[in-house]
């Protein structure tokens, strides 16, 4: 048992924090909420220069060769400052899918581009049914003339508006898990993309694929074997999201503690009132529990160990814990916290989006029940 960061992770964490404190203040986050793209190209290039986009890719693909645990350390920091932009979708949802399923050629082609910030990729998985299982994939791909024709509707696809390439999960057989993955450039004929209005002011899209033709080389991995990769990506996504949430929750706790120390009512700081103190204590306990339960799962994933139960436990807990932390944060902040100008609500809106991403606690409690044989 070792619950601490190693030296390299601590350095990564420190440098990320330093970079983000300088480059990603909430003024930037707020600007990006209103911005059409949702991030600046300048910031994206800086992120690439930090090596974050290739952090988890092996060196032969232009990456740094760190592991998922290291990536989680980074995501805790990006979550802390609510860093806008397609890092999560490009690296965790796009890049790691390519890394897991792609042919050597595909990896050689795509991963270095991602690492350099030249290629933005996302995963188009969920559909209007909003299911996380293979049944949820109703988009079909059929072979035609040496290539494939894909039709269907994808919903809640993050950063599809700026992604150069979509990894599209499509049904290629009648078996439950007969799902295959395809690389579909955004500008392919028949692809239309519409931004959704979401609670987190993030950039999720509806993608309609209307008889979209792609060549045989667009197939990522083997036919009907895509779901094996998706299952891994869902676990990475869930725990990567947990790491972001831990960072966000910690920041909400910190900002709340700061606020209740300085806000005075009845002639004393409101942080001296027991009700407020207990709210803060509950928040702190939730943050602490969230952190270890997240890193336990991240470590298992990082080691390539079976982690169904650990992942489900983590996402079930953190999804609710972050929301509770925000609820109490709001309660401690009073009216100022739900004004648009205050940062508190930036976090609580993102907490809701993160809660439902990759399955909420209802979904993962069901998975826990299955994992322990209930």
């Amino acid at each position: 048992m070792d619950l601490g960061l190693n030296e390299a992770q601590q350095m990564l964490k420190n440098s990320a924090r330093e970079f983000l404190d300088a480059e990603c203040p909430t003024t930037y986050v707020r600007e990006m909420e209103e911005d059409e793209r949702g991030y600046t190209q300048e910031m994206w290039q800086k992120i690439a220069e930090q090596g974050w986009l290739g952090l988890i890719f092996p060196e032969q693909y232009g990456g740094i060769g760190l592991n998922f645990l290291d990536l989680s350390v980074l995501l805790e920091e990006t979550g802390r400052v609510m860093m806008p932009g397609p890092l999560f979708s490009t690296v965790v949802m796009g890049g790691m899918t390519v890394l897991d399923a792609g042919s050597e050629e595909q990896k050689q082609e795509l991963l270095p581009q991602i690492a350099e910030g030249q290629l933005i990729v996302t995963l188009a998985l969920t559909e209007p049914s909003a299911r996380w299982d293979a049944h949820g994939v109703e988009t079909t791909a059929t072979q035609s003339g040496g290539g494939w024709t894909i039709s269907g509707t994808k919903l809640f696809v993050p950063n599809a508006h700026v992604s150069d390439t979509y990894v599209v999960a499509a049904r290629t057989g009648d078996g439950e898990k007969d799902i295959s993955l395809f690389l579909v450039p955004r500008n392919t004929g028949g692809v239309s993309q519409t931004l959704l209005q979401t609670i987190a002011s993030d950039r999720q899209s509806e993608i309609v694929l209307d008889n979209v033709s792609v060549p045989a080389s667009a197939l990522l991995g083997q036919v009907n074997k895509g779901w094996d990769t998706i299952e891994k990506v869902l676990a990475w996504g869930a725990i990567g999201k947990c790491a972001e949430m831990v960072g966000g929750a910690q920041e909400v706790l910190d900002m709340t503690v700061e606020y209740v120390k300085q806000r005075t009512q009845f002639g004393r700081p409101i942080g001296s009132f027991q009700a407020i103190q207990h709210h803060c204590a509950n928040m702190a306990t939730d943050v602490e529990g969230s952190r270890y339960i997240t890193y336990q799962a991240a470590w298992h994933l990082s080691e390539g160990m079976p982690a169904k139960q650990e992942v489900a436990i983590a996402k079930a807990w953190v999804s609710d814990a972050y929301r509770r932390v925000c609820d109490l944060g709001h309660q401690c902040h009073g009216a100022i916290g739900f004004t648009k100008e205050h940062n508190m609500q930036l976090y609580s809106r993102r907490a809701k989006a993160a809660e439902v991403a990759f399955g909420d606690s209802d979904f993962h409690l069901e998975a826990v029940a299955q994992a322990i044989g209930l």
Binding site: T264, G334, D362
Partner: protein
């Protein structure tokens, strides 16, 4: 005891329901009354409700009321909230008017109540200040006597509907050297005068609901002092109990819950109706129970009023329970909607036209506005149960 309404009361609810069915657009799902785009319709509805005499039913006839029972007024409030119908000015009808009837002079009542009954005015509430929220009695807005007037300087905040208001009830400090509760007066001020400035505050749901109101040498005639000079705190507290005593909390929860239940009956997911998921059905049953408790807590307040009793801890119980329930309903709703809960009202994919998402964001303020849940529990414990102050 009797846990049903009289035939007369039932008839009135039916009449009101039909009226609203006729007046509200077919696809009416409620709106943020106070937003500019809806304000015209709000005023129109107010006029019509006033013509029916419904805005102020339980008032004495001499002030524009009908001398109806408190229960009739509760039914009106409940049904309006349940139908999410616009038109009520709660600051005037629910809060100021009953306070004036207790503490106001005959002249004040005659001046201010009839226009409210006729639906001609909008009031707002000048209570909170940037440095005085839960500790309202520490407020610093000053009112200084100057001839026949008070001259007001200071800043009020979180003032809902100030941008539409004709009048504001202002708690202002008139005796700076007295103990803080003993130097406050309750004044009725005209919003349409030089020296009153209104600045919008946008909330997290991107709605302009609150405002900041700044007074710079604004004037209030002395005849607009309600209650005694320097004893305004007690007038203001009376008003707060009225503010917190609403059946609106449970009625709103009930409506949202019913819509959620219907949605779960109509919607399939993973090959079965949502309602057939035992975890979902359990959550909805649980909320049904709590909504019923919330309803009875508020009925009890009205019943006490009808008996000439003064609800106090009961208002705080109803308020804290009701607002926490509103948050639970919104939270469970979001849980049920899952990924779709993220979608705003303008999205074609948004279930229930995005209402749940809006409720999730707007109810954040429910346990804070009109006194936080913590303050309510303080009141229940100290004023209600007689526990010593901390």
């Amino acid at each position: 005891m009797e846990f049903k309404f009289t035939p007369e009361e039932d008839n009135f609810r039916q009449e009101l329901r039909e009226f609203l069915k006729n007046e509200l657009p077919d696809d009416w799902a409620g709106g943020q009354d106070e937003e500019q785009e809806n304000w015209g319709f709000t005023l129109e509805m107010r006029k019509k409700l006033a013509q029916k005499g419904w805005l102020t039913m339980a008032w004495p006839e001499e002030y524009g009321g009908q001398g109806a029972s408190h229960m009739m007024q509760l039914i009106f409030a409940e049904e309006m909230a349940y139908q999410r119908a616009p038109g009520r000015d709660q600051f005037a009808t629910k809060m100021l008017a009953p306070t004036l009837m207790i503490h106001g002079t005959e002249e004040q009542k005659r001046e201010y109540l009839p226009p409210i009954a006729r639906g001609e005015v909008q009031w707002c509430q000048g209570y909170s200040e940037p440095e005085s929220g839960s500790d309202l009695a520490s407020l610093q807005t000053r009112a200084v006597e100057d001839g026949d007037d008070f001259v007001i300087n200071g800043t009020k905040v979180w003032t809902s509907n100030a941008h539409h208001a004709d009048h504001i009830m202002v708690l202002a400090r008139t005796e700076p050297d007295a103990p803080k509760h003993r130097g406050i007066s309750f004044l009725l001020a005209d919003m349409h005068q030089p020296g009153v400035e209104v600045q919008p505050i946008i909330n997290m749901a991107d709605v302009h609901s609150f405002n900041m109101v700044t007074f710079e040498d604004a004037r209030v005639p002395k005849k607009n002092l309600v209650g005694e000079l320097n004893r305004g705190w007690y007038v203001g507290a009376t008003l707060l109990d009225f503010e917190r005593s609403g059946v609106e909390y449970s009625a709103g929860s009930k409506r949202t819950l019913e819509e959620l239940i219907q949605f779960c009956k109509d919607t399939n997911r993973n090959g079965r109706r949502l309602i057939d998921d035992p975890v979902i059905s359990r959550k909805l049953a649980d909320l049904t129970v709590q909504t019923e408790v919330s309803r009875l807590l508020s009925y009890n307040i009205t019943w006490m009023q009808s008996q000439g009793l003064v609800p106090n801890k009961e208002s705080s119980m109803g308020k804290s329970f009701g607002t926490e329930l509103q948050q639970k309903v919104a939270r469970v709703g979001m849980e049920i909607l899952g990924l779709h809960g993220q979608l705003g009202p303008d999205s074609k994919h948004a279930p229930l036209r995005g209402r749940i998402q809006q409720a999730y964001m707007t109810t954040v303020s429910a346990t804070i506005a009109a006194g936080t849940s913590e303050i309510q529990r303080n009141i229940i414990a100290t004023r209600g149960l007689g526990l010593p102050r901390g």
